[in-house]
Symmetry: C2
Subunit: 148 residues, 2 copies
DNA sequence: TTTTGTGCAAACGTTTTGCAATTAT
DNA sequence: ATAATTGCAAAACGTTTGCACAAAA
């Protein structure tokens, strides 16, 4: 989806295309970092000096409610992180540097269907997290404290 | 692992086998409910009238640190839930009644290896959550508000 | 003009912390 | 005995809420 389409997508459901909303959504789509509310706040504050944290939370609620972004939940810290990549995929979380890498696996698509059949659940979303040590941090050191 | 082994497992790492710790661990292993800290607290309070919430949090930290239980993170509410089932498995979370059902899928075992090869991550743990509507709640009603 | 959204400050609930009293070893 | 653990109260933290003002439609 292009930046230009944001206003119409929002208005389609009676919501207003405010600069704050556009900026937050935009940042989320552009970012590969699965930011938290405070991440977004501090990143956007310079450009929107009047921006308030409450607005960030409000906007994230709106975007999640519209299905435009997913809430990943906590990733080891105690904040909810957000992901604008709506495709089913895997988040690899490094326990050392807390970096998150997205990846796919051949079976992810099959998994959902298997669950549906096996359990009768009407599956609506997923959050597949793997925790470990990323290649960079493996090189840097092998002694680290387990956290989480 | 049998209840009788708890003390020695704890002492092996210099930790004390207090009644509170045993009870919390015990409950976690017996329970199928992925309880949160406050769940555990209210469940155990009757048997340990002096029990404090801080001790529950301390103990959970200890157990997670020793790798005896996993922290699942928030499951739609805003509390961290815990799971003593250490085998890689899938948690199916019902968005309506918040019940959590554990299940397996044939590809889960392969997934980890595929990730290792593809990304170079040293995988140490996973948290595979699926959100949806459980069979019971599908029957009860089809109109519910999306939450999370 | 009207309705929605913003921003502030205060409130909330979960989790953490400091410390004196208690208990396992 | 002595070092670890408990339990309390207070603090901290992320997040939510209420309301007056501002802005989009």
């Amino acid at each position: 989806m292009s930046t230009k389409e944001y206003p119409s997508v929002l208005r389609k459901t009676g919501l207003r295309a405010t600069p704050q909303r556009m900026a937050i959504w935009d940042y989320l789509v552009a970012s590969e970092e699965h930011p938290s509310a405070t991440d977004i706040y501090s990143r956007l504050k310079p450009k929107f000096p009047s921006l308030s944290l409450a607005t960030v939370y409000n906007t994230l609620d709106v975007l999640v409610g519209m299905g435009l972004v997913n809430a990943l939940g906590s990733l080891g810290d105690d904040r909810v992180h957000f992901d604008a990549n709506l495709e089913p995929h895997i988040n690899l979380v490094c326990r050392v540097c807390h970096k998150v890498v997205d990846t796919d696996a051949s079976c992810v698509d099959d998994l959902e269907q298997e669950l549906r059949q096996k359990t009768g659940f009407q599956v609506e979303g997923s959050r597949i997290l793997y925790f470990g040590t990323c290649p960079d941090c493996q090189t840097r050191s092998n002694n680290y404290k387990r956290r989480e």
